[in-house]
């Protein structure tokens, strides 16, 4: 069910990533202030945006799960959140590298996006212990969905709050996303965003395919074993 379209999606992702990388290093102009270091922005920010959408999408899928009782939605929600957490590690790592290159410290509190990402990441890290400490599978799915919804609602609230706070203590001089980017940079950024989004959806489908297959395998095995037992008994 999930494998349909996976091949074309993968090809599209590879093409998009290659094109985006080419644009970043051969097309986009060098930033006047930050120089070459600014190129990190093309991988760091799209990762952050896609991860955040992944978290919110996970919440939406969780709503669908609770309303329909169909646990495939919970599986989809889990994979989306799981992928976003992995991207989150990448966001924090690339953010730290960018901070070190730009300001000389491995961490800065100036960037509201990075700071609120840290909080969001800390929150979603609890998803795993919460999920896997509940043994009953149906309950596990339900509680995970509740968490996904609360956390998904939390994400925008948190960003608003951190941004409000940071604008007091660290007035932002540079606007890194959108805003006054020259056209070439904006195009490159959009290409990177698209590539990252495609990549996310591809990996999401990939993991779902694998999980689905694994589950059906389990059921098949159980069936076959039961049949073998029945025949042995007969």
């Amino acid at each position: 069910m999930y494998a349909k379209g996976l091949k074309s999606l993968s090809i599209a992702s590879v093409v998009a990533v290659a094109a985006a990388l080419a644009l970043v290093f051969f097309y986009a102009p060098l930033d006047a202030d930050q120089g070459f270091v600014q190129k990190i922005f093309y991988v760091h920010v799209p990762m952050a945006i896609v991860a955040l959408f992944g978290f919110v999408a996970g919440g939406v899928m969780a709503i669908k799960h609770l309303r329909s009782g169909d646990r495939t939605w919970d599986m989809r929600s889990y994979v989306a959140i799981h992928l976003s957490i992995i991207l989150g590690v990448g966001v924090l790592a690339t953010g730290a590298i960018w901070a070190k290159a730009s300001w000389g410290h491995w961490w800065v509190w100036d960037e509201p996006v990075l700071v609120s990402f840290l909080v969001v990441f800390l929150l979603y890290c609890v998803y795993y212990p919460l999920r896997f400490s509940i043994d009953d599978p149906e309950r596990q799915a339900r509680y995970s969905s509740v968490f996904a919804i609360a956390a998904g609602a939390f994400v925008p609230l948190n960003f608003a709050a951190v941004r409000m706070a940071e604008s007091f203590t660290h007035p932002r001089v540079l606007s890194q996303t959108g805003g006054d980017l020259p056209a070439e940079m904006r195009l490159t950024f959009l290409a990177c965003l698209l590539a990252m989004a495609l990549l996310f959806v591809t990996l999401w489908k990939l993991e779902l395919t694998s999980k689905n297959a694994s589950m059906q395998l389990k059921r098949l095995r159980a069936k076959l074993l039961a049949e073998a037992d029945a025949r042995a008994a007969a």
Binding site: V119, L123, V126, A150, N158, A161, M164
Partner: protein
Amino acid sequence: MIGAAVAILRKDLRLELRTKESVPAMSLFTVTCFVLFHFGLDRDSLDGELAAGVLWVTLLLAAVIGVTRLFAAEREQGGIDGLLLAPVDRTALFLAKGTALFVFLLALELVALPSFGLLLLGPDLRDALPELLLVLLMADLGLAAVGALTAALAAEARARELIVPLLLLPLLVPLLIAASQASEPLLRVSPSTEDLGRWLGLLALYDVVFLLLSIAVFDYLLED
């Protein structure tokens, strides 16, 4: 539904009055925390930003204690099954537990604020008291809603004492930001109410979002 909520609330409040488990522990923890901060920061008196920060972080940490204990009574005496078997709307349960937590927090602050004023706060607490109380009330509302939700979420988890703080504290970051930013000008040597409206607005938004969310979602928890 309101009747059921009131009944559960009455039971919880009476239980707390009798056993005195949550509120004294939270209060003692708070005062101890203030002493820790005195030694940790090596300061005799705080004002402004530091005061707001110390006060709110301490209150949040004390709230974690209260949240962890919120469903403890039911768990320990097996009462949770009784609650669930009765035809009680989960929303009533949420309202009852949330209100109980709210009351516990108010009781806590009755101890915490004077202690803070006595031990650590430089300026006089009475100067900004009405505004400070408003901030506290609105923050307590959000704390109660998120706390009740977290308590229920962690209720079925095996390692719930660990999960509650890990889950609750990040969720409370926007509340902490709004509350401490609102309190900071109030706790200065010459208090002012600058930006109070803006931060109260954020608090109100937070409260509304989490109240509505918790009510919507609580039905799916603690089911059997």
